[in-house]
């Protein structure tokens, strides 16, 4: 495997323009001769499918849900960043670029991040044209709010449902192309393998989730936009169906996997309350615009929050980080919460929670203003906890939320397999070791609307692609492998359910590869996962048959992949002997318990090459060059 980022030459600010000019174009009349497969219909996949179809490509789009409108981008609450500078605060493309690079603790590529900031403004324009009902000021112009890691208000939002509205915008554009016959949509299909012929991605194998039929689909290029792998932890804010399987299958077929240990743990989620719990719910970062985070000063203080006087509260984020206050980046806020709880200052029944208090904001602005900004979030909180956050402070604790790692892609968003493009959360590209709030929506839509339409053209125009069909051996083999694995899963007939193994894996990952890590724990966890995986393949029970709607079988396949992939996360965490962003190895910290990077030795993208089942993967490094920003100890004080 050879890593080549293919970053265009020239000054940072001119790279994208120059690259777009240099990319080969497909003649408009020839686009109809190319078939493109898009897997996943979130912000990245939905926008890519629609935009590619508008250009004239024949697009086949696949999703596991019953409708493309349900992908998990829909659950993003808070907002989407753009460098519009509508607030006249001195924002600029350069500042958005700088904040994102710094927020990621200097582990992302300058050129990619700069391009992301450049196209951010086009995204807002595009979405407004589609009818996305963004929040507006009294004058009718677009409103903004602040998110973590930035000192300007650059986040556009639609109440607490920004992801929903952006996704429905992309979905409507996609549905228009379906009506035009440019996109064929395949819902309730799960990708089980990728087909590589002569080193080029030429198709996929999917299981029809209703009938169980294994189908093969050919194409000239394949685009994966299948999201992140936070569900390796079982409990996360991701939807139940989110999984690593598509990108993990690509990894096994030769796509490099980068920075798998970079997992974002979001500071404000509703705390875990029972062993039966199936998922965790995020409370948007936007709440930290008005909510103040605190714990009692004295460990073990069990009084109700309103009985604890001001003088006995510790607003620890405001105290430790006076210039960013409650709006420090997510990794910093999460570790601080854990640190307080570790000292016995956590609140609630479990002691694993901190307060997020709106009393001051309600006193200052009035209840109706707070209701208008966060009403649906407060309602959601009350539905789950039966407590009214207008009266009592919310209780929150960090939870796994997003994964910065993903398949390796070059500047064209192409993986190490020719013709296999990876967009959105599924790739590793833009967020380094920590993603800033409201940047995931920006990246998904940037990739889908404004990057892949150009770069895929460059590939298709400049690459000889022989005619193929699905009777080729590679298709038959991939389909057979998929069938064999399904048969195997159904035949074990053991004594433990799929969820049992998934929960166990999740606990191992959370305890040893979560907010803080150490070498001893990681090594132990690796062994535990190997043993758990072995037991899974001997003792799992998967009821029913293949030839039916079988949700247990779907989950079994995904958990089998998580059980292999979790080990790769640990291998990656062990290999990175520094702390950076979300990756906090206890052996590498500053005197103030902040992450301590080692730029001399670890300023690289760690990319893993698959070498076979239960064989050690091989590490390849893309060294990151920082020519435009100065590497500093990240400080939010």
């Amino acid at each position: 495997m050879r890593l080549d980022a293919k970053i265009p030459g020239g000054p940072l600010t001119e790279k994208w323009d120059r690259h777009r000019f240099e990319l080969k174009l497909v003649n408009p009349a020839n686009k109809r001769n190319f078939d493109v497969i898009v897997v996943g219909t979130g912000l990245a996949g939905g926008s890519a499918s629609a935009s590619l179809a508008e250009l004239g490509y024949n697009v086949k789009t696949f999703c596991i849900q019953d409708s493309p409108r349900r992908a998990h981008s829909i659950a993003a609450q808070g907002g989407i960043n753009a460098a519009k500078n509508y607030k006249n605060e001195g924002d600029s493309i350069w500042r958005l670029f700088y904040d994102t690079i710094k927020g990621g603790d200097f582990r992302a590529r300058e050129a990619n991040v700069y391009r992301l900031a450049q196209v951010s403004n086009n995204i807002i324009d595009q979405c407004v044209s589609q009818g996305v009902p963004f929040a507006r000021d009294y004058g009718g112009l677009l409103a903004n709010r602040s998110f973590g890691g930035a000192q300007v208000s650059r986040t556009f939002y639609a109440r607490g449902q920004t992801g929903q509205q952006l996704l429905l915008g992309a979905y409507s554009a996609l549905m228009r192309q379906v009506a035009d016959g440019q996109v064929t949509i395949f819902p309730r299909r799960e990708m089980l393998d990728i087909v590589v012929i002569n080193g080029q991605a030429r198709g996929i194998v999917v299981r029809n989730l209703i009938t169980g039929e294994i189908e093969t689909h050919p194409a000239h290029a394949v685009v994966l936009s299948t999201g992140g792998y936070a569900n390796t932890f079982f409990l996360s804010t991701n939807a139940m169906g989110c999984n690593v399987s598509a990108i993990f299958k690509a990894y096994k077929k030769g796509a490099g996997f980068s920075n798998p240990c970079f997992t974002q743990i979001h500071p404000t989620c509703i705390p875990v309350h029972g062993t039966y719990q199936s998922k965790l719910t995020l409370m948007s970062e936007s709440l930290r615009n008005d909510g103040r985070v605190w714990v009692p000063k004295n460990p073990g203080d069990k009084r109700s929050p309103r009985q604890i006087p001001e003088s006995e509260r510790d607003y620890y984020l405001e105290r430790k980080y006076p210039s960013f206050g409650n709006l420090v980046p997510r990794d910093v806020a999460s570790r601080s919460s854990k640190h307080q709880c570790d000292q016995g200052k956590g609140v609630g029944n479990t002691g694993l929670a901190v307060y997020l208090d709106f009393a001051d904001a309600i006193k200052r602005d009035g209840k109706s203003v707070i209701e208008q900004k966060y009403g649906n979030l407060f309602e959601m909180y009350e539905k789950i906890t039966a407590e009214d956050p207008y009266e009592t402070p919310m209780m929150t604790y960090p939870a796994v939320h997003y994964t910065m790692g993903g398949l390796y892609v070059d500047y064209n968003l192409m993986s190490t397999i020719d013709g296999l493009f990876v967009l959105g959360e599924a790739n590793f590209s833009d967020h380094g070791a920590n993603r800033l709030g409201a940047s995931a929506l920006m990246q998904g839509l940037a990739d889908g609307y404004f990057i892949i339409p150009y770069t895929i053209g460059g590939y298709l125009a400049g690459t000889p692609l022989p005619e193929i069909n699905t009777s080729r051996q590679a298709f038959l083999d991939a389909a057979q492998t998929a069938k064999d694995r399904t048969t195997k899963l159904l035949s074990i007939n053991g004594n433990r359910t799929v969820d049992y193994y998934h929960r166990k894996l999740g606990l191992i990952m959370w305890d040893y590869c979560g907010m803080t890590r150490n070498d001893h724990g990681l090594m132990m966890a690796r062994k535990m996962i190997q043993e758990l995986r072995e037991e899974f393949w001997e003792n799992v029970i998967v009821p029913g048959a293949n030839e039916e709607f079988n949700q247990s079988l779907e989950r079994a396949g995904r958990v089998a992949d998580f059980l292999e992939f979790g080990e790769l996360m640990i291998i990656d965490a062990l290999a990175r002997k520094e702390s950076c962003g979300c990756h906090f190895n206890e052996a590498y910290q500053t005197e103030e318990n902040e992450a301590k990077r080692d730029d001399d030795n670890f300023k690289y993208v760690a990319t893993w090459e698959f070498k076979g089942y239960e064989k050690e993967p091989v590490l390849h490094k893309e060294h990151l060059a920082f020519e435009n920003v100065e590497l500093t100890q990240r400080s939010y004080k």
Binding site: S47, E54, Q65, D66, S67, P68, R69, R70, H72, A75, K84, N122, D125, V128, S129, Q130, G131, P133, A135, R136, Y138, G139, G140, L141, L142, Q161, G163, Q164, Q165, L168, Y171, S172, A173, M175, V178, I185, P187, I210, A239, M240, G274, Y276, S278, T281, L282, M380, K383, I384, A386, Y449, F450, P453, T497, D499, I541, P543, E548, F549, Q551, S552
Partner: protein, 254 residues
């Protein structure tokens, strides 16, 4: 306060779209009142699996009330009896010890049952395909602040746009009408200046598609509004009708 309750469940079991289904009885013991409704079904399914039986199929994904994937009729009411709540956000604290709970799939000609509680709602995608969009290609958009939109208009459009496409409106309607779903989309887009140029064409196309797919007509029963987990107002149906009539009078598209 957390406590545990015991329930008798009567759940619709149906192997596939072309087989007959029936209610089967299950016992749900020691259910924590902090649990969500779907977590309770998870527990039943874990036990069924260990007993060598087939677990209950049901659609679900985000479990935070926004993806629109989940839904079942609980004691005769789509998503259960809590106002403005999806099934995944319904919590067991709203049930009492000893209750019998009947759980059935959405029932509508346009939503065939796939298995147990899971139904096929692709007809709703087809309604959107008929015109539930603004025809703008990527790249052609003007600067976002070129057209101011009064805050109140944007808020009303957002109220309509909040629809999650779950199909509860159809399931609750005696005529299995999708007017609230279509009305919400038609209103959302017609209210905004960007959506106005196509408003007439959109209303005609979406309504005619809806009729063609076997959804019934609106008879002002208002069940849809009462059961909508996002509390979409029935005024959106009035707006749909206005757009539809306007389109009929003033355009030559009909």
């Amino acid at each position: 306060m957390t406590k545990t309750i015991n329930l008798t469940l009567k759940i619709w079991r149906q192997k596939g779209s072309d087989t007959k289904g029936q209610l089967e009885t299950y016992h749900a013991g020691n259910i924590s009142t902090d649990m969500s409704f779907l977590e309770m079904i998870d527990i039943i399914n874990e036990q069924l699996t260990l007993d060598g039986k087939n677990p209950i199929s049901f659609d679900h994904d985000c479990r935070e009330g926004i993806c629109g994937m989940c839904g079942a009729v609980v004691n005769g009411r789509p998503h259960g009896s809590e106002k403005g709540t999806t099934l995944c956000q319904l919590h067991m604290r709203h049930f009492s010890d000893g209750d019998t709970v009947v759980i059935e799939p959405w029932r509508s000609k346009a939503f065939p049952v796939i298995k147990d509680l899971a139904v096929d709602r692709s007809a709703m995608d087809q309604i959107i395909q008929a015109g539930g969009y603004i025809s703008v290609n990527t790249g052609g958009a003007p600067e976002a602040n070129t057209t101011p939109i009064p805050q109140e208009t944007a808020e009303i459009a957002m109220d309509a746009a909040a629809c999650i496409g779950c199909g509860a409106c159809v399931a609750s309607c005696p005529n299995a009408s999708a007017m609230l779903f279509a009305g919400a989309k038609i209103s959302h887009l017609a209210l905004l200046p960007q959506g106005k140029p196509e408003a007439a064409k959109r209303a005609l196309a979406m309504v005619s598609k809806m009729d063609g797919l076997g959804f019934g007509n609106c008879a002002n029963e208002r069940e849809c509004e009462a059961e909508c987990p996002k509390e979409i107002s029935i005024t959106n149906i009035a707006r749909l009708n206005r757009e539809f009539i306007k389109a009929g009078f003033f355009s030559s598209i009909m």
